[in-house]
């Protein structure tokens, strides 16, 4: 059951991810990205990280992607025209893709040489309590640094978007 669900949603995630690039209309791409986010949330859920799954849907699929769609609708962006590919892309594209996949496979093999498979639901640190505790003890510094980084980005956005005062 777990394996079937994993396969279904993993394939869905990859298909949606490819669709993001293939689609010519920005709205279709954005919606495919929502599909990717939701499929990833299901994969987190399968592993036993229910809090992260919920956060993934609320933050990425629910908030950030709604903003993306909002901006696309606001700017009224139309479908893009597919241009002819350059010679470089035509000749080097496929070999580079194969090389990249091979490299990734090699590193995964190096990092996890024993080949023990994933146990579904085996991740135990996925509850809200565990994550809260980890964020405020083990990862306190990275957490606070990230918060300040986001704050800087917000202030930057406000400054950039502000109308020039005469």
């Amino acid at each position: 059951m777990d394996v079937i669900l994993f396969l279904v949603f993993a394939i869905l995630a990859v298909a949606c991810a490819i669709n993001v690039v293939v689609q010519t209309h920005p709205i279709s791409s954005a919606l495919s990205l929502v599909g990717v986010m939701c499929s990833l949330a299901v994969l987190y859920l399968l592993l036993g990280a229910e809090f992260i799954a919920a956060a993934q849907v609320i933050v990425y699929a629910g908030a950030i992607m709604v903003l993306f769609v909002f901006v696309i609708m606001l700017l009224n962006a139309g479908a893009e025209v597919r241009k002819g590919r350059s010679v470089m892309a035509q000749t080097l594209g496929a070999p580079l893709l194969v090389a990249l996949l091979g490299l990734m496979a090699y590193f995964v093999q190096r990092l996890f040489p024993r080949g023990d498979s994933v146990r579904f639901g085996g991740f135990t640190g996925g509850s809200a309590l565990d994550i809260g505790r980890a964020l405020f003890t083990t990862y306190l510094l990275p957490f606070e640094v990230t918060s300040i980084l986001i704050l800087i980005a917000i202030i930057g956005a406000v400054v950039l978007a502000r109308k020039e005062l005469e």
């Binding site: 609320i58 629910g62 908030a63 609708m73």
Partner: protein, 393 residues
């Protein structure tokens, strides 16, 4: 495993049937309430007091011509109402209506499923429900729909923040994300409910939640996405027949969900306001008996000819209901259900009351209100609650 599957299917069927009936009749109740606020009788023609009006509406919506305009983006145009209604109905699956019940030797919870992230699940599903409205507005390829969709997106993103912050404060007190445990922590009476519970009573949080909930469900005074005088019908201008009905049902289902959430988070769910040993179990009996006696009294001196038969019939029905609440066998599950429905119903009534009373906000007022007042207020409330909870424990 088999019995689990069977029970789940039966429960899902029961909840679905009850929810659909409630959806249909909620609309009748709303029309009646608003009509009486405006001193007019409301729906009166179909059935006694218009009671069959929802049925007539359903038949009307089903048999109407289902028109798809030629200029729409068809896949998304069809997806939008489906998304809206699915997401609206999905969140009811984690709402607990009462404690465990025992039927024919099978013990089960009056809830479809209990997730340990129940609160987050409801938030996640409701945040996905926005797509239904956004896509409807965009795919219709109509400027009124588009503006309606844009407004609703901006409004929902803005109001989701105070809503989440208002939800977080009672969670700090109850210290759980499971909706079932949330209610169990509030057991014991009105002073244990989160809205009155120490160290910091969540009255402000409750009010902020309700205001944000009005905006989340696109209700008056925040129904800008469908402001008739400027946007025709907003995001669902181009929809007809069952597709229009899906949006309509989604709005009412969302109303029910937020009312249930308010009940669970702040008002103690199915817990009675005071313990049964001080007579809280007699409240429904008293209410139904009173209603029955009033109906019988008016039936004995009828104002119209048909009242001579209809009012005594209703009076006897109410008295039977009062007697049922006295039976100890059904009390175990009927009483929690009564309190849950009473609390949720009170909040739903507030929704209608506000719709009958308040005018609509202007758009810039709406945005200014949430960002300049509601969000800081919710933040402050969360901070104070957090400090006090940490200080007490």
């Amino acid at each position: 495993m088999d019995s689990f599957l069977l029970i789940s299917v039966v429960k899902a069927a029961v909840v679905f049937a009850v929810l659909m009936t409630t959806l249909a009749y909620l609309q009748w109740v709303e029309r009646k309430v608003i009509a009486h606020i405006q001193v007019r009788p409301g729906p009166y023609r179909v059935g006694p007091h218009g009671l069959l009006q929802p049925l007539a509406d359903v038949i009307k919506l089903l048999t109407k011509e289902d028109l798809i305009p030629p200029y729409v983006n068809k896949p998304l145009y069809l997806l939008a109402p489906f998304l809206a209604i699915t997401m609206a109905l999905l969140s009811i699956s984690v709402i607990p209506f009462g404690p465990t019940i025992e039927i024919g030797g099978v013990r089960t919870w009056m809830q479809l499923t209990d997730l340990n992230i129940g609160v987050l699940f409801v938030l996640a599903v409701s945040s996905m429900g926005v797509y239904g409205i956004v896509l409807a507005g965009w795919a219709s390829n109509n400027k009124y729909s588009l503006i309606g969709g844009l407004r609703s997106t901006a409004q929902m993103i803005s109001y989701e923040l105070p809503l989440s912050l208002a939800i977080a404060s009672p969670l700090l007190i109850s210290n759980t994300l499971s909706l079932r445990e949330l209610v169990e922590r509030q057991a014991g009476g009105i002073w244990s409910w989160n809205v009155f519970h120490g160290p910091f009573p969540q009255v402000f949080s409750f009010i902020i939640f309700l205001i944000a909930a009005f905006a989340e469900t696109n209700r008056v005074p925040f129904d800008l996405p469908e402001a008739e005088n400027e946007l025709v019908a907003g995001f669902h201008t181009e929809y007809s027949s069952m597709k229009f009905a899906s949006f309509f049902m989604a709005e009412y289902a969302n109303m029910i969900t937020v009312s249930c959430m308010a009940t669970l988070l702040f008002l103690g769910g199915w817990v009675a306001p005071w313990p049964a040993r001080y007579g809280s179990s007699l409240v429904p009996v008293a209410i139904f008996a009173m209603a029955g006696l009033v109906a019988l009294y008016h039936g004995s001196r009828p104002a119209r000819r048909r009242d001579r038969y209809s009012l005594p019939a209703f009076g006897i029905l109410f008295l039977i209901a009062a007697a049922v609440f006295l039976l100890p066998i059904v009390q175990a599950w009927l009483l929690p259900l009564f309190w849950f429905c009473a609390k949720t119903g009170a909040i739903l009534f507030a929704f209608m009351w506000v719709r009958g009373t308040l005018p609509r906000f202007r758009y810039d007022q709406l945005m200014g209100f949430t960002w300049k007042f509601l969000f800081p207020a919710a933040m402050l409330n969360l901070l104070v609650t957090g400090f006090l909870v940490a200080w007490v424990s």
